[in-house]
Amino acid sequence: MEANVEATPSSPESKQPQLLTLLSRLLDTILVPVLAVFSALVIGGLIIIVTDATVYAAFREEGVAGGLVMAWQVMATAYGAMFSGSLGDTNAISESLVASTPYIFAGLAVAIGFRGGLFNIGAEGQLLVAAGASVVIGNSIQLPAIIHLPLALLGGMLAGAIYGSIPGYLKAKTGAHEVINTIMMNWIAIRFFSWAFTGPLRRAGGDAPVTDEIYRTAYLPQLFEGYRLHWGFFLALLIAFGIWWLLFKTTIGFEIRTVGANPNAARYGGINITRITVLTMALSGALAGLAGASELLGLNHFLAEGFSPGFGFDAIALALLGKSHPLGVVLAALLFGTLRNGATRMQSIASVPIDIISVVQALVIVFIAAPAIVRWIYRVRTKSDVEGTTFTRGWGA
């Protein structure tokens, strides 16, 4: 603190108490994300109002005042349903945490990709492949739970890691952009499992494209009786901590971050770019794989079409919202899980299609990626946001 004062004798901040500096820095970091989410929800609410026929009817029959009242009511019902459905009672909270679990893993996957300068849109395919591996391990052999569960989880992780490392290797060796390759691999995985569900993986004794259920010994156990919340949630928190430690406290993490920030500097510093690129994608794939494996082992217990409602794509918004920091990702994932859980309730009570959440997410990303828009709307002046951050580079290496 004394060094600060000597270095900048005339700066007003040096005269502020340390707590206030800390608070102002905290405010800087979370102000834009919070405003972004708030703005996105407001716009989402506007869309709900604008597309509701009862609002127009109210405007026609009762005039402007009546119409506005109706509009407010529509929005209140919708968001009221969302909040009660996501946080209203213990069951709702449990469901929100259940919904957050895959988001934490997938968000970490994309975040670690961003840290390494790679855009992993392939989380969707990676988690599907991992779920496939886990379901096969889970339903084909019987082992004591103490081995079966970790084996299924590890199998999923490994499958995701391998699936993710392929685009990484292609990027490192040929410069092929990972965005298109991961999207292609998503589709390949989806088609492959479409076939597998009607072929080798199909449940015996029926025509439905679903797999056999896994044995009970491979289940991720529930935390409390009667609630769907499973140990995958705490595993996610643990892994988030592990990733934080990896990224910021180990050499490998440093290398990953350097390659992401400035590959030329990394090469000059002697870091093997190929190795780190493949490793980053493999880690990313492993994390996405955990998303799939935990969902399967803790929740569904068998695999079928439509396993993932787009975890991989939502994860992009999460990683951006959380600024690619594990803590931020966890918080963002909790938020998104809550929102998605609430949106289900919103759909059933207020009959608002659940896709409004995708719109809200997209708006969140817009406001995060272009903080200037948020600042312009709210006339906020923050000094720490990075303007025009480049997350990835062009097509060629």
Binding site: T51, N181, D355, A362, V366, A370
Partner: protein
């Protein structure tokens, strides 16, 4: 690295690649023998139909009958010869040889797949063209943007939005006198009915009614608007172009699904826009084989042909096009010459968005006439791959999209032939375009070099 070692290194790579190619050709020839020729009996024949399935102006052409086994052996020998030549002397234009070998292999595959039975070859090529159309529009869209230096990954989202807007607008003007199924009251306001009625009376032709053209216009407009947003984010705010593109994709998927569930599913009158019918061009459509293929198509396919040619001319033969290329390669130099880099990029991105909008309209008013959620199924991204495959040229992009379209059409045809005739599950055939894309991106056809400042926001200092 000195120039001497650099050229030595590149020539070693070239050497390795040409030897690798030669071996690859020989392997393909062997594959034709082992996979196809051996699996056919000496008396089998393959019949290729050469007439379009529908009513046509062209004279009927006799079917082309081939002796299966002999034809396959002949093709295998041809490919092996090419492979041997590549190993011994090496072709100057290896990629051309690769293309020929690829075509021969595909032809051999078709002969084998239709062994003992018949297949409508012309129908297959026509189907390839139809399936290539959205990919082609996507590729052209990406091309316009990237030549100016802006990566447009939002083609998928633009197409999806274009699809929905096109069908809704077309439905509005087509079903103007639709009534509520329960109450019987007219669904749409009177002014709309009046406009719709007037338009109906003045149709240019049955194949290109006004309501479809208006739908097309709607698709173009929404494509342009989304592109303008993408341009605003990535050029003015210098947001990472891939992020801003992904945002538009997520947004488009969300809002189209939302609106589809809210409005299109309950109100069917909003989701039946009709489709472009076949519009034969008098005269040229009477040429056997070529006529029906190129000149007896729907209006939107003619648009594709026209766009490919127009963009080619505009890009390489006009001042505007050369400026675009300059802006994409070296914006700083272009700027010092007085070219407004920001304006060129904005215009090109918006034009690209409009083309993507047309591509989107193809999915609805160009083929099935109604919108289903996520009906684009990744075609926008395949369009990007086609653009890279075609080395950022309109003709190349068109050719590449034909290849992808062919893979798609082949998959449908093989499903029709049955799993016994061709023991490959249809899902694996569906995977083929994606796998081919990955091979293309990995440089299988040589390094694809994008415009130099692709993806880099321009900063004026």
């Amino acid at each position: 690295m000195s120039t001497a070692t650099m050229s030595a290194a590149t020539s070693v790579i070239k050497e390795k690649r040409s030897v690798g190619m030669g071996i690859f050709f020989l392997v393909v020839g062997l594959a034709i023998v082992v996979l196809f020729a051996i699996n056919s009996t000496p008396d089998m024949t393959t019949t290729f139909g050469l007439n379009p399935g529908a009513r046509t102006n062209a004279p009927k052409v006799d079917d082309w009958i081939l002796p299966t086994r002999n034809a396959l052996w002949l093709l295998a020998i041809v490919v092996s010869f090419i492979g041997g030549w590549q190993l011994a002397r090496g072709f100057k234009r290896v990629n051309l040889a690769l293309l020929v070998v690829g075509l021969v292999f595909v032809f051999a595959f078709l002969i084998w797949a239709a062994r003992g039975t018949s297949m409508n070859l012309l129908g297959m090529i026509s189907a390839s063209l139809l399936r290539a159309a959205p990919i082609g529009f996507g590729a052209l869209s990406g091309l316009l943007c990237e030549r100016a230096g802006v990566i447009n990954i939002a083609i998928e989202g633009m197409m999806l939005s274009g699809a929905m807007v096109a069908v809704v607008v077309a439905s509005l003007f087509r079903n103007f006198d639709a009534v509520h199924p329960v109450t019987g009251a007219p669904l749409f306001p009177v002014w709309l009915s009046n406009i719709g009625r007037t338009l109906d009376a003045y149709n240019l032709s049955d194949a290109v009614p006004w309501y479809l053209l208006l739908g097309l216009l709607g698709g173009i407009l929404i494509g342009g608007i989304l592109a303008a947003f993408h341009a605003w984010l990535s050029i003015t705010f210098r947001v990472d172009q891939i992020v801003s593109g992904t945002v538009i994709n997520i947004f488009a998927v969300g809002i189209t699904s939302f609106l589809s569930q809210r409005f299109l599913q309950p109100i069917q009158a909003l989701n039946s826009g009709g489709t472009f019918k076949i519009l034969p061009i008098p005269g040229v459509s009477s040429i056997p084989i070529i006529g029906p293929l190129f000149f007896e198509q729907r209006f939107i396919i003619y648009l594709l042909f026209i766009l490919v040619i127009v963009i080619h001319i505009m890009l390489f033969y006009t001042r505007w096009g050369l400026r675009t290329i300059a802006v994409g390669e070296h914006p700083k130099a272009a700027d010092t010459l007085g070219i407004n880099v920001f304006r060129m990029r904005y215009i090109n991105v918006i034009l690209g968005g409009m083309v993507a909008g047309i591509g989107g309209a193809y999915f609805t008013i160009g083929s099935v006439g109604r919108f289903d959620e996520a009906l684009t199924a990744g075609k926008g991204f395949i369009g990007l791959a086609a653009m890279i495959f075609g080395k950022w040229t309109p003709l190349g992009a068109f050719g590449a999209s034909l290849i992808f379209g062919f893979a798609d059409a082949l998959q449908v045809k093989l499903q029709g032939l049955g799993i016994d005739q061709v023991p490959i599950p249809s899902e694996f055939m569906l995977m083929a375009p994606y796998i081919v894309t990955m091979f293309v991106l990995a440089g299988f056809i040589g390094r694809a070099i994008p415009p130099a400042s692709d993806g880099i926001p321009y900063e004026k200092d």
